[in-house]
Symmetry: C2
Subunit: 213 residues, 2 copies
Amino acid sequence: MAARDYGQYGGVTRGLELVGERWALLIVRDLLVGPRRYGELAGGLARIPSNILAARLKELQAAGIIRRVPHSRVIVYELTPYGRELEPVVLALGAWGFKSLGDPREEQVITPDAMTMDLRTAFRPQVAEQLPATAYAARFGHAELLIRVDGSTLDVTRGDGPVDLAFAAGPGIRRLISGELGPERAIETGVVEVLRGRRALLGRFASTFHLAA
Amino acid sequence: MAARDYGQYGGVTRGLELVGERWALLIVRDLLVGPRRYGELAGGLARIPSNILAARLKELQAAGIIRRVPHSRVIVYELTPYGRELEPVVLALGAWGFKSLGDPREEQVITPDAMTMDLRTAFRPQVAEQLPATAYAARFGHAELLIRVDGSTLDVTRGDGPVDLAFAAGPGIRRLISGELGPERAIETGVVEVLRGRRALLGRFASTFHLAA
DNA sequence: CTGGATCCTGCCCGATACTG
DNA sequence: CAGTATCGGGCAGGATCCAG
């Protein structure tokens, strides 16, 4: 059951043997948002072949990273405590990758789970703490998210609820988060369209979620 | 030039497209210790096929992660600033992998670079700060390392020099670092053999380098 | 000798079809 | 809905060969 190994002894090598296979860490990323069904994972990882998804789920399960839980008629996959400890790894990799991210290409999908983890990556708790609690409804491509910031805690869900600011963002939202584009300019240039609420709140959003390029 | 992509837009996805291929992150790990020649990389990554090493070096270079530097007759590879920013990722993955590490198997090699990064992973600066500066010479398998701790800084090299404690560690050293085995017991059971210096210093080593399982 | 390039084999990945 | 079966292509693995 041990994945293809590297013939070396060490922490990094061991880590890669467990989650280094193609698609594995993306499955973990989506499960960090919450338990998911097989079909939900397949939907979020649009281009994963079903046999690969099935194989990865078995491997991750054998490695003690995820658990297969029958949940009244349906089966969901969720992270074990050891699997949840991958969060710092995923966040660090996401932060690093974000820095060289360009604008989304035509064929690239923006999924809610990926966006959620990116928001967690960019979240600055020590900044948020200084600001009043705020709820945002954000649409990125097809992903609609409810983002609630309260003190130093962040909660991103797909549900609906009352918000202080609702906006839709086109490609280029990245530049708002990286600081290349100020909030006012983002609205002027059409990168962000404010749907409801005071547009000044977009500045609060930009300072709460920030990741330099 | 873009590696096989995932068809998704996001930080984690982007990161995996850059360093998610097999062997890539191990090359980065070794280069985090210092610049290396082609042959040194091949030696440290014993089982990497030469064509794969050559291919990865080209890809990492194209991605702006490493640089190929002619250095008076010889060529060395070194990380770019962007590549060096992978250190938190490698350390986080190493810390995570370390937790499920067993004892080294017969066919597993312990390389100096892998060991160096594991020591960096386990290093606790805030503990070291409270202790007097100490130099250790440690032999793990075939890897001989000079470990210097001074205040909150750690320096691991392959050179030689005056040390306060010299020891050789067998398989099972992991249990000393994880705290499963106390320093006294480690010496008693032969897991660690003190070659020079006061054996009490092994306790200092164990509290300086610690990573819970 | 170092730093690769080349060739070939085999296995993993990817795409699609199919089933309980 | 949650996977399994099948098959082709491409990357990985190992050995060998070549250039400076």
